[in-house]
């Protein structure tokens, strides 16, 4: 890691519109659209807010990625040092949910799963585990290819990883649909509360991980990559994978 001298940067104020635009996109997409839909039950307003938020957020992210790939940062190669700290805080948010689960579960004693819980297919989480582990492996292969300057191979294995992640999400959607059909929704009982919250929160992390992969793939198609992006996305993906073991073992098999 080398810190470039301040003199190089001393001539002008650094600017980027990406953070501002991405943040306001997120503001419309999440707090505003959620409130419009669930608090004020106004579908039209929801669509408007999501319609404003989505393009803003995508534009912000796209700009951010393109700057990150091309510009020389103040401190080269520091992102891999920052990611572990972020993961620490991710671990604690999952812990918040798991602890709540444990408290509810242990205070229920033998009355578990509570009334209203249908038979949950235990084959599904096994398949999903296999898929997610496989995607971690394929991404590892992609990184190997990348390290050997095999861009073609990197793209191929990256696309395979994205495909596996998408199948994982497909399984989640299928399972949710099936359970909802059986009348098991988030509000059914204490177990459904936990089930949808924890699996859903994990799935949102899969979405973020996939988003990172796609943000790497698009510039890679025209030959632009950044090794720290590639590395960080991988670490994040493995983290999401590890969390899944806890989700599967606690929520399905316990």
């Amino acid at each position: 890691m080398s810190q470039s001298t301040s003199a190089e940067h001393a001539h002008h104020w650094e600017v980027s519109w990406a953070p501002l635009v991405a943040t306001f996109g997120a503001l419309f997409l999440i707090p505003f659209a959620f409130s419009a839909y669930y608090v004020y039950e106004d579908t039209f307003l929801t669509v408007i807010f999501a319609g404003i938020g989505t393009p803003l957020m995508l534009a912000g992210i796209a700009k951010w990625v393109s700057e990150g790939i091309t510009e020389k940062p103040l401190l080269e190669g520091v992102s891999p040092s920052g990611l572990p700290y972020f993961i620490v805080s991710e671990v604690f948010i999952f812990l918040g949910f798991f602890v709540s689960y444990w408290v509810i579960r242990l205070s229920a004693g033998n009355a578990w799963p509570p009334e209203g819980t249908p038979e949950i297919n235990m084959f599904m989480p096994v398949i999903m585990t296999v898929i997610l582990v496989a995607s971690s492996i394929t991404y590892h292969v992609a990184e190997e290819k990348y390290d050997h300057d095999d861009l073609e191979g990197f793209r191929k294995w990256l696309i395979i990883s994205i495909g596996l992640g998408a199948i994982f999400l497909g399984c989640t959607i299928y399972e949710y649909g099936h359970l909802l059909h059986l009348g098991f929704g988030p509000s059914t009982n204490a177990y459904s509360t936990i089930f949808y919250t924890i699996t859903g929160f994990h799935a949102s992390h899969v979405v973020i991980g996939l988003g990172m992969f796609i943000a790497i793939l698009i510039p890679a198609l025209s030959g632009k990559t950044n090794k720290y992006f590639v590395f960080c996305a991988g670490v994040y993906w493995h983290f999401v994978d590890v969390i899944w073991f806890f989700v599967a073992s606690q929520v399905y098999f316990w």
Partner: protein, 534 residues
């Protein structure tokens, strides 16, 4: 090169990724939040200054609007003023300067943080535009927060936005301090303020996510019909209180530590002295606080129902906090010892903070003792306790910071006379407001009651408290207008008017330009930011 010679360029400000400008944006946002939340405080004091409805014709409106004010006042003061003022503004502007870095490690993420913070303020303020203003206090306890007709979602999203801003800030600043210190700068040569920021951010990194999880469950319970906090369906209502305080007790240290860090800087500079017992203060005091901060939260639940053995255990762990806090106090007070003390305005605030710290800290002790707290809990005594420490001590430390670094940030001097009048109004005002609350709290005045017709004996003291609040309002108005006027019209200041030894004063101009330093900073092995012998 000073910014003065440049033309003001709006897009260079709003798209900036420079830590100093981001710091200024944090300052503007947090002072705005402080202003609005301060108006709420005055309204609350006026409402309570007489029995029955004071600011409304009927009891229903009076109660409802009181709850809405109280909600905004508490949430905004803690989450949108103190935490971002200390860890957003002060850390952003001065930490990189103090360690001799050109910027933070992730400048774009830093810009993302400040905009998330602004969005948090926007959502909080929109709470007054929507018809169903949140009315759930800053604590948001269920079941009320779930059953209310108010918009709990806005509370949750405010917490999410500000929390996420803070987590990203934590990642950014921890990495910055670890990797970007000037060549030669060892751990024991860091400014106390740098250490206090590091420890505060360690707390944020670990505890904010738990609060985020808690309020997310609140959101789901209210709007998706889940049952986390619903005992009738197997949930647990005390779970929320536990998770909330698991974060929110450590949050008081996120405020306390940087506030102390600022005072160390001010006290050292105006006593021309080195830090007394630096290592005990840092490793015993600050890191000690971090270590114990996560084990004491249950003292906020003494009256919520729990077995006695937990009460006793938590009483002991809470009292243990006095050890690291005591170390910090000793090293802070010791720094004054045999110093060449002068009393410029920042120092006036700092000295008053030392006094306020004692009152706030010492009144925490009876609260920690379960037997006494069962009587004092949910009375105005609590109210006075945490206002001494947060509402006054920490707030005054932000003011000390703004005055102390004002010449650095603007290249100009503030108006000492105006500032001093403001200081005395503030100082007298806060004591007139909050000392009576200790008294009526001990006598049994319940906290968070808009009306207290059943206790007419407390009316006089409430009236006195309102007079105090009006004094503070005048003082704050003078203070903030002093900043605004002096920023544009003050006397030009030199680069180091206080003759400090810290890098932000010795190695760069006022205000610093892009890249901070004209040439890369390096320090000697025997350099310290408090080396006043030479």
């Amino acid at each position: 090169m000073s910014a003065e010679s440049e033309k003001f360029n709006l897009s260079e400000w709003i798209f900036t990724t420079d830590h100093k400008r981001i710091g200024v944006m944090y300052l503007i946002g947090s002072i705005a939040a402080f202003g609005v939340a301060g108006i709420m405080a005055i309204l609350i004091r006026i409402e309570q200054s007489s029995l029955g409805p004071t600011l409304a014709d009927d009891a229903l409106t009076a109660g409802q609007q009181y709850n809405e004010w109280l909600y905004f006042h508490g949430a905004a003061m803690i989450l949108a003023f103190l935490i971002p003022g200390l860890t957003g503004f002060a850390a952003n502007y001065f930490l990189p300067l103090m360690i001799g870095a050109a910027d933070v490690a992730f400048p774009r993420i830093n810009a993302l943080s400040v905009w998330l913070f602004w969005c948090g303020i926007i959502v909080a303020l929109l709470g007054f535009v929507i018809p169903d203003t949140p009315d759930i206090m800053w604590t948001g306890y269920p079941p009320y927060s779930i059953l209310t007709g108010g918009n709990t979602a806005f509370y949750v999203f405010t917490v999410h936005l500000l929390g996420f801003a803070s987590i990203l800030g934590a990642v950014n600043f921890l990495v910055t301090v670890i990797y970007m210190r000037a060549p030669g700068m060892g751990w024991n040569q860091l400014n106390m303020f740098v250490w206090s920021t590091v420890t505060a951010f360690v707390i944020q990194l670990v505890f904010v996510p738990v609060l985020a999880a808690a309020v997310t469950m609140l959101l789901f319970d209210k709007y998706l019909g889940t049952h986390f906090f619903d005992p009738s369906a197997g949930g647990d209502v005390l779970l929320y209180q536990n998770l909330f305080w698991f974060y929110s007790h450590p949050a008081v240290y996120v405020i306390l530590l940087p506030a102390l860090g600022i005072l160390y800087e001010v006290v050292a500079t105006f006593s021309k002295n080195k830090i007394f017992n630096y290592k005990a203060g840092v490793y015993g005091g600050m890191w000690g606080v971090v270590l114990i901060s996560g084990e004491v939260w249950v003292h906020h639940l003494y009256i919520s129902g729990m077995p006695n053995w937990i009460r006793v255990g938590m009483m002991i762990s809470t009292l243990l906090i006095s050890l690291p806090v005591g170390l910090l106090a000793i090293s802070l007070f010791g720094t004054l010892y045999k110093g060449a003390i002068t009393f410029e305005l920042p120092m006036k605030y700092a000295i008053s903070c030392l006094f306020l710290f004692l009152i706030g800290g010492l009144t925490g002790i009876p609260l920690a003792i379960t037997a006494l707290d069962l009587h004092l809990s949910e009375t105005s005594f609590i109210h006075a306790h945490f206002h001494y420490i947060m509402g006054i001590f920490a707030t005054f430390s932000v003011f000390a910071a703004v005055y102390y670094w004002f010449p650095k940030m603007t290249g100009r001097m503030f108006n000492e006379k105006l500032g001093t009048i403001g200081f005395w109004l503030n100082f007298i005002g806060v004591n007139v407001t909050f000392l009576p609350l200790f008294k009526i709290g001990i006598d049994g005045m319940p906290r968070r009651y808009w009306n207290y017709e059943m206790f007419p004996q407390f009316e006089t003291w409430h009236f006195v408290a309102m007079i105090g609040a009006l004094l503070v309002a005048a003082g704050m108005l003078l203070t903030v207008s002093n900043w605004i006027i002096s920023a544009f019209n003050g006397e030009p200041a030199s680069d180091n008017p206080w003759k400090s030894k810290s890098l932000e004063w010795t190695h760069t101009v006022s205000p610093p330009g892009p890249g901070n330093f004209l040439k890369p900073v390096e320090v000697e092995t025997d350099w310290t930011p408090y080396d006043y012998r030479k």
